[in-house]
Structure formats: structure tokens, C-alpha cells
């Protein structure tokens, strides 16, 4: 499964220059997603709780438990498309090994580190790193998933250093997250610039790594496509579509 999903995604990137992941939370949303232009399905706890992506960081639910609960109904309905799980890797009250095995057994093809710890900065991040549930947990999760061939990781990272660590952990497809963006041209240019630096750094380490630039769904993808035309900053774009659940 792992090898074929990877090839499937590479094919999507070659032909359309992007990967679209549509979030689902039940059979009806899977049905709706299948009528949209989508390459992957994603089960994130935010979609299950009907809240926006940014609320994924809030203490309003057990992120991993919620994903696991939704898994049964979603995976039995999703026949055609690979399904990725949003895994909260810094969860200190869950053993990651058995959890990933369980996700694989349920039929998930891959994982996205959601919500990604890389977004968190300031004192909270310092405290998390100090208590040993920071970025290292995400790296370990990816490493576990790759080494045991459980799930294909699609890690979302924010800096070249984070990208390099993920490559060393065995990830060969990365999503560069440019952080919060305004929906305008200067913001898009800045994101493309940052992504070029990221891609260069990652490629120095692994020349065949696939890099995708995450474009938030409130941004106009077209602006990015036009600006990226002369010198693509990455292999393609990564989009998360929430329309099947809202």
C-alpha cells in the first residue's frame, strides 16, 4: 500500500501540480468528497468536531481519540481514495507505537502531523520542548511509521531545520507550511521565497525528496500559481479542502 500510495501521489503532482486532501468525518462526507476534485481523504479531529483547522490546537477534544472514533465509518465508506489520519504526535497520554498500528489496522494509508507543533512558538513551545513533548515527538512518530512501514507520513513543517530532521527520520514527501498568511500578493511572494529556501535545504540532504507548499484554503491558489510560474518553489501545492464537512 505504502509504495503504491506514494507513486499515486507523485503521479498527481506530475499531472496537476498539486495534492488536494479533503477532510471527511462520516460516510456522507466521503460521498460528497468523491464528487469533488480530490486526491486524498483526511480524518482530522477538527472535522469531526466541526471546527476550523486552527481550533485543532485548543483543549476542546482528545485529538487522537476523536480520529480513531471516526475511523470505522469513514474507512468502510472510502473505497476509492487513500485516507490519511491527522495524528497529534505530541499527545503525552498515548503510546504512539500501538496507536499507529491501530490506525494501519483500521485501513489508513498515511498520516499528517496534525496539529503540527511547529506552529507553536513562545513560552508554550519552550515549555512543551522542556517537558519532552515537542517537535522530537513528531520526528519519532514519522520514524516509527516509516521504519515499520505502517503509514506513509506527510509531515507539515515550518523551517528548513525541521524539514531536514524529517528527511533524516525517513520522510521523503514534505509539506512546507508558510505560517499565517494574508490573502494578498506580497504574502504569497514571501511564502514562495521561504519555500524556495526550504526546498533547497531539503534537496541538499535528499535530492529526490518531494516538497509541497501548503496554501491555506482562504488564499487564492491562482495567485500562487501565477507567481510560481517562472521558478517553481517546490514540486507542487498542498491544499486541505474542508467543504465536504461544512
Amino acid at each position: 500500500m505504502d509504495g503504491s500510495v506514494k507513486e499515486y501521489l507523485r503521479q498527481a503532482i506530475r499531472t496537476r501540480g498539486r495534492v488536494v486532501m479533503t477532510l471527511v468525518n462520516d460516510p456522507a462526507s466521503v460521498e460528497r468528497a468523491c464528487h469533488m476534485e480530490t486526491d486524498l481523504l483526511g480524518v482530522f479531529h477538527t472535522a469531526c468536531l466541526h471546527v476550523p483547522l486552527m481550533a485543532g490546537y485548543l483543549p476542546i477534544g482528545d485529538a487522537n481519540g476523536t480520529v480513531l472514533e471516526a475511523a470505522g465509518t469513514v474507512l468502510s465508506a472510502a473505497e476509492r481514495l487513500p485516507v490519511f489520519a491527522g495524528v497529534c504526535c505530541f499527545d503525552p497520554i498515548r503510546l504512539m507505537g500501538p496507536f499507529l498500528q491501530n490506525l494501519k489496522a483500521q485501513g489508513f494509508s498515511g498520516l499528517v502531523n496534525f496539529p503540527p507543533v511547529g506552529y507553536i512558538d513562545g513560552e508554550l513551545r519552550t515549555n512543551m520542548e522542556g517537558r519532552n513533548f515537542g517537535f522530537a515527538r513528531e520526528v519519532n512518530t514519522v520514524e516509527l511509521a516509516v521504519r515499520n512501514q505502517w503509514l506513509l507520513p506527510l509531515p507539515m513543517v515550518f523551517t528548513p531545520e525541521e524539514g531536514e530532521r524529517m528527511v533524516r527520520a525517513g520522510a521523503d514527501m514534505l509539506v512546507f507550511h508558510p505560517g499565517f498568511l494574508e490573502n494578498d500578493e506580497p504574502a504569497a511572494r514571501a511564502a514562495l521565497r521561504a519555500c524556495r529556501l526550504f526546498t533547497a535545504a531539503v534537496r541538499r540532504l535528499a535530492s529526490d525528496a518531494v516538497v509541497l507548499l501548503y496554501v491555506p484554503n482562504y488564499c487564492a491558489l491562482q495567485t500562487f500559481e501565477i507567481l510560481a510560474e517562472p521558478a517553481p518553489p517546490a514540486d507542487g501545492f498542498f491544499l486541505i479542502n474542508e467543504n465536504a464537512v461544512f
Partner: protein, 390 residues
């Protein structure tokens, strides 16, 4: 039923400042709160996470629904015991999965008398992530609105604020008590990595209190978190700010359970503070702080550098002040104080010498024995023998 005015009246007429508000996460800790004569209890998710062996700040991350978590232990573990101390619910206001109005009604029905905006978004300090949250509609404003709504329903409210502007907003929302949130605390088994220096925290709280005094004189003012985690720091807040009391979770757990031998009991402290009316409003005295810290926490790992950091002055400067005022160096005073305490323990208890050493801050037996001999002129074993025989 107007719980707000009822509790304020109770605090002012039947209790005395400094008020003690304990954040708890289980039925057992409700009992500890009662046993220690706490004035109010806050049912909080950070309390619950500490019970699970995790640091308080975990309460602001997506490992559970904060409101559900608190509601469950409140209903199962605290409410059935017919609690005598007024209960305040640690409310997560940015929760889009609850209907705030109905949720507050439900709390009131269950005879939970108040709410406090805890966990607060202020645990996320300003920066990229805070900006992204606010752009996603996750804002402090929601906490203010929840407090206003609760106040409107007659619930007692504690507004947790991080700066002057937030204090103004919470006062406007009708918050009965304003509590200054000082951030995460270091130390202990579950402490965080970040902590404001004590002097900064005191000045910060004093500035906010000033705003409160101007806007609504007579409002009860508390402090919570940050360096306010030892009796010494608490005395410091009492003597250098207008604080009416303390809200604390891990603060009390440390005193009651983790290191009870390091501290006087909460009750004793209260008696001491309440009788010591002069403790209020004295000028800042660095040496007094250092000396008190030694007296209160001699068993902990104390260094001049850490104390100087607390006070936000340089270590050489503190060293000089200390020597000039006390007549000996910080280290010699600390060692002398510890050896006096050790001598007492040798004389009046049957604790092993190793245990006595550990009780005064010496993990290494040989080191303790050597130091004791240097200061007291005789080994601990000989000292005990000499004083037993009399």
C-alpha cells in the same frame, strides 16, 4: 440566586485576607482544600492534568475537552460530598462545541456558584502562534464575554487577566474578583521551563492593581501562577502589592504533598500573615527577602545566583548587600542556618544522620558530615551522642 454578591459578602464578613483559592482536579483535593481552610475552590482542568502526572500548561492543548473533563470530576467526585467551600468552575470560553448560555445554566443548577476563565488564552504568549489563533477567531474577548454572561446570570466570577487592558475589560464585564495571571511556574516535579522573575511579576501585578483601584476601588485582587509559588514569594507579594490573596494549584500541592517538610502548613502561614498586619506595604528589601528565603526553603537547592535572578539584581550586588547588612556572606549564613537546623534534628529526633543531612539540603552524606564538623566542631554522630547523654 445572586451567588456573586453572596460570595463577596461571605469573603468580606466571615473570612479574612489573604484569601486562598485552590485549583483542584479531583475529589481528594477537594478534601485537602477543606482540611486546609481554603476560602474558595476552582475546579480546573490543569488540576486534573496534574493528577495525571502532567504539567499544568497541558490544559491548553488538545488532549481532551477541558469543560467536559472538569464537569465530569465535579459531578462525580466533588458535588456528591455536599461541599461547604464555594465551588468555582474553570471555564474554557473558546470552546465552540458548547452552548455557553446553556452550559452556565447547567453549572448553576448543579450549585456550582462561580466561574473563572481558566484555561485562558494567555497561556499562549504573544507571537506568531497567538496571532494565528486570533486570526482564527480564538480570542481573549471570548473569555470576557463568557464572564459577562456568567455575571449576568448571577454567578460569582473571577476574571483572570494578564495586563491592564484585560483588567479593564474584565471589570467592565462585571467580574467580581480580578486575578492577575503571572504565567507558568518552574520547579517541583511538574514545573514548567519558563517563569517570570519575581520582581517583574510583583511590579506587573502592582501596575494592574493600580488600574483596578482607579476603575473600581475596593475590588478583590488576587495573583496566580508564575514565581508566586513559595511562601517567601507569597509574603513578598503581600508586602509589596495590594494583593488580597492567592489563587494556586500546584503551589498548594507542593506545600501540602511534594515538599511538606520545606514549608509551614498553609494554616500556619495564614495565621502568621493575618496576624501580621504590618506585613503590608513595606519598601522593597532585598536582604530581607534573601534571609526569609533561607529560613523558609533551606532544604531546597538555594543559590545566590537564583535569588539574584528572582530579585532581578546582579549576584555580586546582592552578595555585597547581604554581607553589609548581615555581617557574613550568603553562603556562610545559609550553611550556618542549615547546620543549626541539622543540630536541632539530631538533638530532638531519631532520624538517621543521612536523613538529617537530606532534610537540610545535603544529598551527599560525606559532604554533610564534613560541613557539620567544620561549623559545629564535632561530627554529627558525636553531636547526637553528646546531646543525648545530657
Amino acid at each position: 440566586m445572586k451567588y456573586g454578591s453572596q460570595i463577596l459578602k461571605m469573603l468580606q464578613q466571615e473570612r479574612k485576607p489573604p484569601y486562598m483559592v485552590m485549583c483542584i482536579g479531583s475529589g481528594l483535593f477537594y478534601r485537602y482544600a477543606q482540611n486546609n481552610n481554603m476560602d474558595l475552590v476552582v475546579l480546573s482542568s490543569n488540576g486534573r492534568y496534574r493528577q495525571m502526572g502532567l504539567s499544568s500548561f497541558v490544559a491548553s492543548l488538545p488532549f481532551g475537552n477541558s469543560n467536559r473533563l472538569v464537569y465530569d470530576f465535579a459531578v462525580r467526585e466533588v458535588l456528591p460530598n455536599n461541599p461547604a467551600i464555594p465551588l468555582v468552575f474553570g471555564l474554557y470560553a473558546n470552546d465552540p462545541t458548547i452552548r455557553m448560555e446553556e452550559f452556565l445554566d447547567e453549572l448553576k443548577e448543579k450549585r456550582i456558584m462561580g466561574v473563572c476563565n481558566l484555561p485562558t488564552i494567555n497561556l499562549v504568549t504573544p507571537g506568531r502562534f497567538r496571532d494565528a489563533l486570533e486570526n482564527g477567531g480564538i480570542r481573549y474577548q471570548r473569555e470576557v464575554e463568557a464572564i459577562a454572561l456568567a455575571h449576568g446570570k448571577g454567578l460569582f466570577t473571577i476574571g483572570l487577566v494578564a495586563d491592564e487592558e484585560q483588567a479593564r475589560q474584565m471589570l467592565q464585564a462585571g467580574s467580581d474578583v480580578i486575578c492577575v495571571f503571572l504565567g507558568t511556574a518552574k520547579g517541583g516535579l511538574l514545573g514548567a521551563n519558563v517563569e517570570k522573575p519575581l520582581i517583574h511579576a510583583v511590579e506587573h501585578a502592582a501596575r494592574i492593581f493600580q488600574v483596578i483601584e482607579q476603575e473600581r476601588p475596593g475590588t478583590l485582587k488576587l495573583v496566580y501562577g508564575g514565581p508566586c509559588r513559595t511562601p517567601t514569594a507569597m509574603s513578598f507579594f503581600l508586602s509589596h502589592t495590594n494583593t488580597d490573596g492567592f489563587m494556586g494549584g500546584y503551589l498548594f500541592e507542593r506545600m501540602l504533598i511534594e515538599q511538606p517538610y520545606n514549608f509551614n502548613s498553609v494554616n500556619e502561614l495564614l495565621v502568621q500573615w493575618r496576624s501580621d498586619a504590618n506585613a503590608k506595604r513595606r519598601p522593597l528589601d532585598y536582604v530581607e527577602y534573601a534571609q526569609k528565603k533561607i529560613h523558609d526553603e533551606y532544604a531546597a537547592n538555594l543559590t545566590l545566583a537564583a535569588l539574584a535572578e528572582d530579585l532581578h539584581i546582579s549576584a555580586p550586588y546582592l552578595s555585597k548587600l547581604f554581607r553589609n547588612s548581615i555581617g557574613e556572606t550568603f553562603v556562610s549564613y545559609l550553611v550556618g542556618y542549615r547546620m543549626d537546623k541539622a543540630a536541632e534534628l539530631l538533638k530532638f529526633t531519631t532520624l538517621s544522620i543521612e536523613h538529617v543531612g537530606a532534610s537540610v539540603g545535603y544529598g551527599d552524606y560525606a559532604h554533610f558530615s564534613k560541613t557539620f564538623k567544620r561549623v559545629k566542631g564535632t561530627t554529627p554522630a558525636q553531636y547526637r551522642k553528646d546531646h543525648r547523654e545530657q
